[in-house]
Symmetry: C2
Subunit: 326 residues, 2 copies
């Protein structure tokens, strides 16, 4: 990550300047305050960085356009984070108090709406109907994905296929858009654009699966957010889905009880972590992810060697690194 930030230092500075300027232009100090809090909160800017790398890997990149579109992506991402805070009632995000515990649900919803609109205002400056199409469809998909997950909350009927659908929509679609928009900001070929969209989509899947693994493996302090949040909210993720399949009747019943009643979470979470470890579900999840990882790298093959390509390869590898000691 440090290498990535060093390589793209100039682009990041331009991005941060544009983000700050876009948030200044409001009569409501609360917007600047909350947006600054959440956008400055150690945000890795991973999605715009992907935009920059993908644009840089193609010829003819348009610097200003790339920065502007990167800011759109980051605004949409931050808006979904703010709305997630309301949704999940989690009280930590990135190790700092989340926006909704500091300012209330109202402010989180509204500042999220504001950032979302501001993303579309930036797109107006860009004036490309292709970008509008990609980002409005992506925004729809994100909320569909979150709603699909909500529909299956508290239920063990959420299987691998539905899980992949959910994370594809709620997470991977924005990664896909970030990369595809990089291609657009560099006037790439149709073929390159398709590869980059697929690359982004799969990187998104890898990051989400990796997050879902970590949620069962680390403490809240290490994660910088509450461990087991998904389980607490009754949401099955891949490790639990795979563990449930191979568990015995008692274990199944324990998992069902915990999913359907968040009050049982505190007592049962350590037991469920144990079931997951015993069933080797983390290893199975990693095997599943590693197949995606190999597939992801294929989309980089058509591009000539460049520092950007090397960094994208590293990102693909890094995506599962944090889970690799299992």
């Amino acid at each position: 990550m440090q290498e990535l930030h060093d390589f793209l230092r100039a682009e990041l500075e331009d991005l941060n300047r544009l983000i700050t300027d876009s948030l200044k232009n409001t009569r409501v100090p609360l917007i600047t305050e909350i947006a600054h809090h959440i956008m400055a909160a150690g945000g890795k800017r991973l999605r715009p960085l992907l935009t920059f790398l993908c644009a840089g890997m193609c010829d003819n990149k348009d610097h200003d356009r790339m920065i502007r579109l990167g800011a759109c992506i980051e605004f949409i991402h931050t808006a979904t984070l703010l709305h997630d805070d309301v949704i999940d009632q989690s009280n930590q995000r990135r190790g700092r108090p989340s926006a909704h515990t500091l300012w209330g649900n109202e402010a989180s919803v509204l500042v999220g709406d504001f950032l979302f609109s501001r993303a579309f205002e930036l797109m107006v400056e860009d004036d490309s109907s292709e970008v509008f199409k990609i980002l409005s469809q992506t925004a729809s998909k994100i909320s569909e994905g979150e709603l699909l997950q909500l529909t299956y909350a508290h239920s063990v009927s959420l299987n691998e296929d539905i899980y992949m659908d959910i994370i594809g929509a709620k997470t991977a679609s924005l990664f896909a858009a970030a990369c595809e928009i990089g291609a657009l900001a560099a006037h790439s070929s149709h073929d390159q654009r398709n590869h980059l969209r697929a690359l982004g989509y799969k990187i998104g899947l890898l990051f989400q699966i990796s997050d879902d693994i970590l949620d069962f493996c680390f403490s809240s302090i290490d994660l910088g957010k509450n461990a087991g949040d998904d389980l607490f909210e009754g949401k099955m993720t891949l490790p639990l889905i795979l563990a449930y399949k191979t568990s015995n009747a008692n274990e199944k019943s324990l998992i069902e009880d915990t999913l359907s009643d968040s009050k049982k979470f505190e007592k049962n979470f350590p037991l469920i972590k144990e079931i997951i470890l015993q069933s080797r579900a983390i290893e199975s999840t990693l095997t599943y992810a590693k197949a995606i990882q190999q597939d992801t790298l294929q989309h980089l093959l058509p591009f000539r060697e460049s520092p950007q390509k090397k960094l994208l390869e590293k990102i693909v590898h890094f995506s599962l690194n944090r889970c690799d000691f299992f």
Copy 2:
């Protein structure tokens, strides 16, 4: 309202068909269910009706475009209603249980996000950068207005000027966009477009002021929502602002106490209604509104006589009618 619906029956049918079709195209049944609930809940479709009237008052209206843009406006409006439900914790809307009490905050936020994105997807089909600009700026303004109101919650420092700023942004800006977009769907002149935007803005102000008057005059049953909601949430509106100015020290202190502590609402609401009646603040608010009403009609003068123009004049009159027995 009935006359309006009769006159625009064909347009309304096309609008409702497009709205229904746009909401079918999702894998998540919960979206169709919630969106249907809120969009079918006696929605008056007032904003798209304004779009249709304004387009009809100009020459060369493009029917399909007008319907599509009307649907965008209604989606944005419904998205803000859903997010308002979360924000305000009110448990009634339009006399039926509000979405968040039926499905929870999460679903309200997410379906709101979905409708908002769907509005932008419809705009992509329209492919006009002018429309994009108007609606993305309007969406920003709405959230800014709501946030400005939130900033002044529980405080008597909210004066007439700030009140007009707030309702201009949170309510009138969408009415303005609805009318301006009608002009765009009819290839109107620049001058006509400016008049229609101003017309919509002022109609929006009138409707909001009227709503704020009714909140102090009717019971929850008559209103189809909780009376006194704004006061309960610590928000000053024009009748209370004007009453506060002329009230004595005891009354001022009662108003301040109620604004700052919602637990005192039940006991104090009847007393505050009495202060408002005694101070003749409703009459002062109406006087204020009637000046705007006269000003609003000016923007119709440049247009030739037509049934649409007549209906718009009636809407301007109707906007304060419900309050007129004071």
